[in-house]
């Protein structure tokens, strides 16, 4: 196992563990304000210091991991759930109007960067974590549709698909039985990449106030609140940023490692 893959795995699991543990335990109450304790640097009492309301930063980071991971995970789910069937459909009907419509629809969504989608949704429905999920999720749809279509197109030219057709199987059945299992590797790798992009996007949206609203803890909003205090107490800005960098880095390394391990080329058995 390559060390970078190990590092990725460890960092990703750490973020996940922090999120899960925060459900039952954090070092301090996330909501507990204590103005007397405000902007304290890291200490045995507060491992990563406190913010401008005296809240424990370590605890907030743990709870923030929950938001980040939940938003990114659901957004990947939306992207996969809608994008993969669309991509498979387009590949199975390549050259037809269906393919054309799916692909043009994809291009159209690509013309709306996720931030722009979020802005539109927010302008209409107001900011919330759910809207952030929808915005990132919509953006993920064409990504997965493209990956699925690209992988499927390569497979459709192969003779084992021809053999399945000769065995009387329809396109839908072939897509489910032969195509999907063979592009699963591609999808898993893309999934980790979109997951990490989702964490980044959630942080960005929350930072400008389009994402999770108080009191839902969020890394992006912690940074927004820290901005004015960055000279007084740099740790308030540094730790949430590091949390994002390490999580995203971990997920990317994990994705790269998975790509190497689950080489999607045919002819290498499972």
């Amino acid at each position: 196992m390559r060390p970078s893959f190990m590092l990725g795995l460890i960092l990703s699991l750490l973020a996940l563990a922090a999120a899960l543990v925060s459900l039952v335990w954090t070092p301090h109450d996330v909501a507990a304000l204590s103005i007397a304790e405000k902007l304290k640097p890291p200490s045995p009492m507060h491992w990563l210091g406190t913010d401008h309301f005296g809240r424990d930063i370590a605890s907030m980071l743990m709870a923030g991991a929950r938001t980040s991971i939940a938003v990114a995970l659901v957004a990947v789910g939306i992207g996969m759930g809608a994008g993969v069937p669309l991509g498979l459909l387009a590949a199975a009907r390549t050259g037809t109007l269906t393919d054309e419509v799916v692909m043009r629809g994809n291009d159209l969504i690509f013309a709306f960067p996720s931030l722009v989608i979020a802005i539109l949704i927010t302008a209409v429905f107001g900011p919330s974590a759910v809207n952030a999920i929808i915005a990132i999720g919509i953006f993920n749809i064409p990504v997965f549709a493209r990956v699925a279509r690209g992988g499927a197109l390569g497979l459709w030219t192969l003779d084992f698909i021809r053999a399945a057709e000769v065995a009387g199987k329809g396109r839908t059945r072939i897509s489910a039985e032969h195509i999907l299992p063979n592009i699963l590797n591609l999808l898993i790798v893309q999934g980790t990449i979109q997951f990490s992009l989702g964490v980044l996007a959630e942080a960005g949206l929350s930072y400008v106030g389009l994402g999770a609203q108080p009191p839902t803890p969020s890394w992006g909003r912690m940074l927004a609140e820290a901005q004015t205090m960055v000279t007084l107490a740099p740790h308030v800005a540094i730790f949430p940023g590091l949390a994002i960098v390490l999580t995203v880095l971990g997920l990317n390394l994990l994705g790269d490692g998975l790509r190497d391990r689950l080489d999607p080329r045919l002819g290498r058995g499972p």
């Binding site: 291009d107 709306f112 960067p113 722009v116 302008a123 209409v124 901005q227 994002i244 995203v248």
Partner: protein
């Protein structure tokens, strides 16, 4: 070539049409109607009715859509409700900040990514490659707004080389450029990391092609083969990414403009959201989408310029 061009143009026009429909429809589903939404809960019946009249909300939606599109085609994006000036004028002022910023950032990204990607590809599997790739992994993971805060902390507050925010205007071009430097760096570095990785893998893939072996059999050195044969072929995926990045930089600058208090499109759109100025939101979103679609079109043209297979019918 004409066929390709025409096809791309039709696709461009269709994308714009559908995008405008989508944006119009989204604004249309505002709870209540746009006028009461914009004025908030405390507005009186008469003011709402007056605004509704001014916005033309009493017309049926298809007619309103046509008015909106026809206006945009003439360069008339409506009147901002809060600023009481034509939206076109507002956007023009703001683009004078956002567009240079995006270009500046793209330029920086290319300047960093090309040497890094080439070097990593040429030294594939060695220490330098590993170092460059490690650095790009960190670069990709950096949220640009956080990186911007660190830049401000270091270069504006500690060393005082660059301003921490604000924009003096283009009256003094150098001062303007200076004000945009930290934002551009914050935007560019994560993008440079992505671009360097794409360039490296495109080059490595191309170097594995048969025609590179043919070139080597002719007597080209490995370096000459990369320069004369691989680079141009590897540009196709790189261009794709660069096109997406320019779009991203234009839209993504929205966040960075907030960090540096730059009066760009991004600030405009946030102010418009908080002030519920739907006319500005609608138009600015349309302009951003327009920019993305046009850049995609330009990238398609660039493909044709580098790939003879696309200009078959020249």
């Amino acid at each position: 070539m004409q066929r390709y061009l025409l096809g791309r143009l039709i696709s461009l026009a269709l994308s714009l049409l559908v995008a405008s429909l989508v944006i119009f429809a989204v604004i249309e589903v505002v709870p209540g109607d746009a006028a009461s939404y914009m004025l908030g809960l405390n507005a009186s019946e008469e003011t709402v009715a007056a605004l509704r009249d001014r916005l033309g909300l009493n017309e049926p939606p298809p007619l309103r859509y046509l008015h909106w599109v026809a206006g945009m085609l003439r360069g008339d994006f409506g009147q901002s409700y809060t600023y009481r000036v034509p939206v076109a004028e507002l956007v023009g002022q703001r683009l004078a900040v956002s567009l240079p910023l995006a270009l500046y950032a793209l330029l920086l990204a290319v300047a960093i990514a090309f040497p890094a990607g080439l070097l990593a590809a040429a030294r594939r599997g060695r220490g330098l490659d590993a170092a460059v790739m490690g650095a790009t992994q960190v670069g990709i993971a950096l949220p640009n707004f956080w990186f911007a805060m660190l830049l401000v902390l270091a270069f504006a507050l500690h060393w005082r080389i660059f301003p921490a925010g604000g924009f003096p205007g283009w009256g003094e071009p150098l001062a303007g450029l200076r004000a945009l430097t930290l934002p551009a760096v914050a935007l560019a570095l994560p993008q440079a990391a992505i671009l360097a990785r794409v360039l490296r893998s495109a080059l490595i893939e191309t170097v594995g092609q048969d025609y590179i072996r043919t070139a080597r059999a002719k007597g080209l050195t490995a370096g000459q083969a990369i320069l004369h044969h691989a680079l141009r072929n590897a540009m196709v995926p790189v261009l794709t990414i660069m096109g997406m990045q320019f779009s991203f930089l234009l839209a993504g600058a929205i966040i960075i403009e907030n960090v540096f208090y730059l009066p760009g499109l991004g600030r405009l759109i946030f102010q418009a959201i908080t002030q519920r100025d739907l006319i500005v939101v609608e138009s600015v979103v349309m302009i951003l989408v327009f920019a993305v679609i046009v850049v995609t079109f330009l990238v398609d043209l660039a493909y044709a310029a580098i790939d003879p297979r696309l200009r078959k019918r020249a």
